[in-house]
């Protein structure tokens, strides 16, 4: 667990440095889901970075595509590509945009996201494909709470239980904010756990920064036929950096040199 926490701190540092260097926004959204990504990619997913298209691999879709800066760092550190590639982040003619590209263009990516509300349906299609082809893998889809405004999320939520896709897991990175305000004030989001239950899902809530709790839900054995599972992960936007936590200005703000240094100090990292 301590190793996972160390990795998460390292990833947070790289995300903030990249944001500073390349003026990439969505820092708050990246930091809220960092622990979930680290728990999945460094602990529970059945994946082999040297075989990114293995038919039996677990699939992970970052449906909240604006968390790409976090995913790019995680995939790089996990070995899907050389970490040096990330030095071209945001450069003209480079691969790393502000949202994930297609699997064809970057190994480790399962679906190009960025337009919200697509990932759960794509994941449902992948989960059904596993059943049709007789392949044993799990599909995890990470959604934002703001993303749950999209009607297509709930179309997928209605279809998954009727198809009994027991190999599908939806995690909501519930950081309580969306682009312009408190997510529970923009739309009637709550009661979020009950909503998933009412749609026929097995649902629970956890602390989305607790590596033990994340291992518990992400690592839980799944079956091809059964109830799909939804996890509402309570998170803090900007998690890990005191002056960014729960401050929605960091949805778009870029840290200056002093803020970068302060963030590194808090993370216990050397610049």
């Amino acid at each position: 667990m301590n190793d996972l926490k160390k990795i998460a701190s390292e990833i947070r540092g790289r995300i903030i440095a990249t944001s500073h260097n390349t003026r990439t926004p969505h820092l708050g959204s990246c930091l809220s889901c960092t622990d979930i990504l680290v728990a999945a990619y460094f602990d529970t997913l059945k994946i082999d970075p040297t075989k990114p298209t293995d038919p039996n691999r677990d699939r992970f879709i970052l449906s909240k595509g604006h968390g790409a800066a976090a995913l790019f760092q995680v995939l790089g550190m996990r070995g899907f590509y050389s970490e040096g590639m990330l030095e071209s982040y945001g450069e003209d003619g480079g691969l790393f945009a502000e949202h994930p590209p297609t699997p064809e263009h970057l190994p480790g990516i399962e679906a190009a996201t960025g337009s919200l509300g697509h990932g759960l349906s794509i994941g449902l299609g992948m989960a059904l494909a596993g059943r049709i082809k007789g392949q044993i893998y799990d599909v995890t889809v990470l959604l934002g709470d703001g993303e749950c405004n999209e009607g297509s999320v709930w179309e997928a939520a209605m279809m998954a239980p009727i198809q009994k896709v027991g190999n599908l897991l939806a995690i909501v990175d519930f950081n309580k904010w969306q682009g312009t305000g408190r997510s529970e004030e923009v739309m009637e989001l709550g009661p979020l756990v009950d909503k998933w239950r009412a749609f026929g899902w097995e649902a629970c809530e956890i602390d989305g920064h607790d590596m033990g709790a994340l291992r518990g839900v992400l690592g839980q054995p799944r079956t091809l036929i059964g109830k799909p599972q939804a996890v509402v992960a309570h998170t803090v936007k900007g998690k890990g950096i005191s002056f960014m936590e729960d401050d929605n200005n960091w949805h778009y703000r870029i840290p200056d040199a002093d803020e970068l240094a302060a963030a590194y100090r808090e993370l216990g990292l050397k610049l």
């Binding site: 038919p55 297609t102 699997p103 064809e104 399962e110 679906a111 190009a112 960025g114 337009s115 509300g117 697509h118 349906s121 794509i122 994941g123 449902l124 299609g125 992948m126 989960a127 059904l128 494909a129 596993g130 059943r131 049709i132 082809k133 009607g151 297509s152 179309e155 997928a156 209605m158 279809m159 198809q163």
Partner: protein, 310 residues
């Protein structure tokens, strides 16, 4: 046409276990045989087209060959962004079938008309766009579509469209079918107006104007070789489609023509006006309203031919 689709996809599904059919809560009985022969590979996705499109993309990303079937406006305009991002951006083999295209469902009102689909599908990168004229072409188009490693849109009519015999030739996506040969005029059709176009051609021939007919079952990629040949040889080329005159095959041909230095022929396009049809009426009524009749084609094309021959 839709019965032919159900029959053909059942046959293809029986020999290719990657083929999956997704329907938007229509045609349930239509697919009874598919369900029987291909257990576990039919999904009624309910009235939720956006989700259905992305589910299909997820399946295609996992090596399956999903085929989506619902009424044309709901499988195109309703879920356009899912088509653009999930099918086209990923460039995965999703076959999207729009049934009741054009004015097939004239009586149901403009919510069910589909006179924009060719335009909005054609502009998408990686997309192949097909408009078969009859059930023979539909079966060929469907088999061809399932060989393509990218998204395909097929617009079909409803049922009972007559089959029009073509000249002996090999079918290929991207190559038009010559229906009859002629020298002076070429009538190009995309879709089920082919019988009216054949009537027009016969009437023009009777007036001593030799008329060729080409069935452009493939709207994209455009068959530029055939266009080059007919624009070089004929005096008038007419494009006829049950689609807006904006952006369909007529638009595609006009774009191509603008790039040619010295085309011999003049272009005229027949399609629906830039409006919603507020009057109630059958498909025949609607076609007449927009001048999509043999009579109107003959009169307009003949006038243009006479001017071009002076």
């Amino acid at each position: 046409m839709r019965n032919a689709f159900a029959d053909e996809i059942t046959k293809i599904g029986a020999s290719d276990s990657r083929v999956v059919v997704l329907s938007g809560d229509i045609g349930n009985k239509l697919f009874d045989r598919f369900k029987l022969k291909n257990e576990g590979r039919f999904f009624n996705c309910g009235i939720a087209e956006a989700n259905m499109m992305s589910v299909a993309a997820g399946m295609a990303l996992s090596g399956l060959r999903p085929v989506i079937y619902t009424i044309a406006p709901f499988t195109t305009t309703r879920c356009y962004e899912q088509i653009r991002v999930d099918a086209c951006y990923h460039n995965v083999p999703v076959v999207i079938v729009g049934t009741g295209s054009g004015l097939s469902y004239a009586e149901l009102g403009p919510t069910h008309h589909s006179c924009e689909d060719l335009a909005i599908m054609r502009v998408l990168p990686n997309m192949t766009v097909l408009a078969p004229a009859d059930e023979v072409e539909l079966r060929q188009c469907l088999r061809g579509a399932l060989q393509i490693n990218g998204p395909v849109y097929i617009r079909i009519g409803k049922k009972g469209e007559p089959v029009v015999p073509k000249m002996q030739q090999k079918f290929a996506i991207g190559r038009s079918m010559t229906v009859r040969d002629g020298e002076d005029i070429c009538l190009i059709v995309a879709g089920t107006l082919l019988p009216s176009v054949m009537q027009a051609a016969e009437a023009l021939d009777a007036l001593g104007i030799s008329t060729r007919v080409e069935s452009f079952h493939t709207v994209k990629p455009l068959d530029e070789a055939t266009l080059g040949a007919v624009f070089g040889r004929c005096k008038v080329v007419a494009v006829v489609e049950e689609h807006s005159r904006i952006g369909g095959l007529g638009g595609a041909v006009a774009e191509w023509l603008a790039r040619q230095s010295r085309p011999n022929a003049r272009l005229i396009t027949f399609g629906t006006d830039d409006c919603f049809m507020h009057e109630v009426g059958t498909q025949t009524y609607a076609r007449e309203k927009f001048g999509l009749t043999a009579l109107n084609i003959v009169s307009k094309v003949k006038a243009l031919f006479n001017r071009a021959s002076v």
